[in-house]
Amino acid sequence: MFAYIIRRILQMFIVLFGLSVLVFIMLKLTPGDPAVIMAGLGATPETVQSIREKLGLDRPWHEQYWRLVSGLFNGELQAMTYHVPVWQIIFERLPATVELGLFALLIALIVSIPAGLLSAIFRNTLVDYGVTTIALMGISMPVFWTALILMIIFGVTFRVLPISGRGATIGAWSFLTLDGLRHLVIPSLALSSVLMAMNARLTRASMLEVLRQEYIKTARAKGLKESVVLLKHAFRNAMAPVLTNIGLQINTLFAGAVLTETTTAWPGMGRLMVEAINRRDMAVVLGLALFLAAVAQVLYLLVDLMYVWIDPRISYD
């Protein structure tokens, strides 16, 4: 087990190293000199040159790469256009995205698990068709469009919810205030639509799988009430894959957050990513990509370990 974890962590570093090299190469291929962009219009060649030297853009590629990555870790690397260290700007934006993501996940689970459950229990009935169709629609709708529609319905037509920004916050969190909570509704609902659909389908599939097992037959045969069979025997076992799968949805969640945050002017990491790309701020882009990948890799490892914990039959040695 221990050896497995070590191996996984090593693999994780290989992935992160590969990613950083890939992103670095892509950024280096970008047309347009960042020094010129930073110097602004009408700058003299001397100014541009001095900025280039300051950023180390005149060094060979491998030195630049090393500078960038080591700078990320010791906090010396400045975001080019924000004039603060990269970590600082990422951590400033982190709570907003975490909040949005967790609320979206919460809404998604509250809706999707009962929906998937009903769909599996009443298999091939109208309920099932309804749930599966709605779930497929949820996967098909682009989140930014869902957000726009929600904004039009609740923000413009009925004027019951604010349509952009985060509202009042306590510390870095906005769900603690009523105003902030109201601001949270539309973005998290929009973002949850995709997760809802994915989790409802997963719950349904997992539940159907469990209902085919022998022990369900046994439970029924010994005369247990159907509700006990379904909820106690089947549901609890069906939940394991669904819950562990949540960890694997982080990438979907973040891709959705990039778009939702842009639509609803939610000041999180997703919007930071778009801003940084538009400003050609490669330090921030690289930092964000690595940060996100690291979080995802750790989550994937945790999910794998959770399988062992949930199901003792699995072992990785």
């Binding site: 970008t30 098909s140 682009p142 726009l148 891709a255 990509a289 996100l292």
Partner: protein, 372 residues
């Protein structure tokens, strides 16, 4: 005799052979395409009709659709005659092939038929957009800015007075065109990587898998975003970028190859000295084709959503090309006063992707040999 009748009008020959359902099918095909032809002639947009009557810049688009329509008519004729040939030379009842079973099951699957219809409608909108559109999708009309939906403009007009219905119809072209080509590239690159990885295993496989892991470590959408912001976003670049980074098929092919390569018939084929390429194409590919078809269908949907997302952020298709994502980008500024600018393009994205998704879902069901 049946041939001559079929030559006159597809489906007539079938009447003689008492294949009434097939006759109906062919006449329906003729009716639909005839309708499109009539529409094109009435609107004066068929290539030959339009020459000299409309501005030069419209002509290439009109000719393209015209030739595609002509091509479709030729195909229907050939298909009808071939079908008559098949009916006349039908052999004794043979066993059913896998694809016949799949087709029979697919016909009964309401989900699949709905999905296929949605996809077909979108495909036709894309291929024949000049015939269906009311006018020019990029012509601005400053006397009709942000008109709400009305009889004249069923979907309203945007902030430049452009007809949203027309833009949505032409948008199908952009979305399906780029989506389909990108997916094709996904299949080619992913397929090759998956085959190499699964077949040769060892070092090649390890490198390919690590590479895929790196690509998967951040969302596909972010890679696309990054790549597009770097390499630019004219349609060709967009296709290539999406084509290269969406390598999901590689995993599927690889696992398919891995499961097949241990089978006895592969060992047998090897033993009689079959070459590697023949082995791959004759023995491994047919087994992988089902899951490949499902992935293809689904990835077109994914690619369409990704393209829309990129354009929505202003990093994809550039104006004035009509594109659903970019239309939503423009609507962002006006959604308070002009809801129709946001609703219709998004609805078409959702509908198209929904079509591909349920089609893929249904294909997965009908092609699974375990579900009989």
């Amino acid at each position: 005799m049946a041939y001559i009748l079929s030559l006159l009008f597809p489906g007539l020959g079938h009447l003689l052979l008492r294949a009434y359902r097939r006759a109906l099918f062919f006449s329906l095909l003729m009716l639909i395409h005839g309708g499109i032809l009539a529409l094109a002639v009435i609107k004066g947009r068929l290539g030959w009709v339009a020459v000299g009557k409309v501005p030069e810049r419209y002509l290439p688009g009109y000719w393209l659709s015209t030739w595609i329509l002509v091509g479709f008519f030729v195909l229907i004729w050939i298909w009808a005659i071939f079908d008559v040939y098949r009916l006349l030379h039908r052999k004794e009842e043979r066993g059913q092939s896998y694809w016949q079973i799949v087709w029979r099951r697919f016909k009964k699957d309401a989900k699949g038929i709905t999905g296929a219809s949605i996809v077909l409608v979108m495909l036709y909108l894309a291929l024949f957009s000049p015939f269906f559109a009311q006018g020019d999708p990029i012509k601005m009309n400053f006397t009709a800015i942000r008109q709400p939906p009305s009889l004249k403009y069923p979907f309203g007009t945007d902030h430049f007075g452009r007809n949203i219905l027309d833009r949505v119809i032409y948008g199908a072209r952009t979305a399906l065109g780029i989506g389909a080509v990108a997916t094709l590239l996904n299949m080619i690159f992913g397929g090759i990587l998956g085959l190499i990885g699964g077949f040769y295993r060892g070092v090649a496989d390890a490198i390919i898998m690590r590479f895929l892991e790196i690509l998967n470590s951040i969302p596909f959408f972010l890679f696309a975003l990054l790549a597009v912001s770097i390499f630019g976003s004219d349609p060709i670049t967009l296709m290539i970028v999406l084509g290269i980074f969406g390598l999901q098929p590689a995993r599927i092919i690889r696992s398919e190859v891995l499961s097949v390569r241990e089978e006895d018939y592969i060992t047998a084929a090897r033993a009689i000295g079959v070459s590697t390429w023949r082995l791959i194409f004759r023995h491994v590919m047919p087994n992988a084709i089902a899951s490949l078809l499902v992935t293809t269908t689904m990835s077109i949907g994914v690619n369409i959503i990704v393209i829309a997302g990129l354009s929505y952020l202003g990093l994809g298709i550039k104006p004035p090309t009509p594109d659903w994502g970019y239309m939503l980008h423009e609507s962002q500024e006006f959604f308070r006063v002009a809801w129709w600018m946001a609703v219709f393009p998004g609805f078409f994205i959702a509908l198209t992707v929904f079509g591909f998704n349920i089609l893929g879902d249904s294909l997965r069901d009908v092609m699974d040999p375990r579900l009989k």
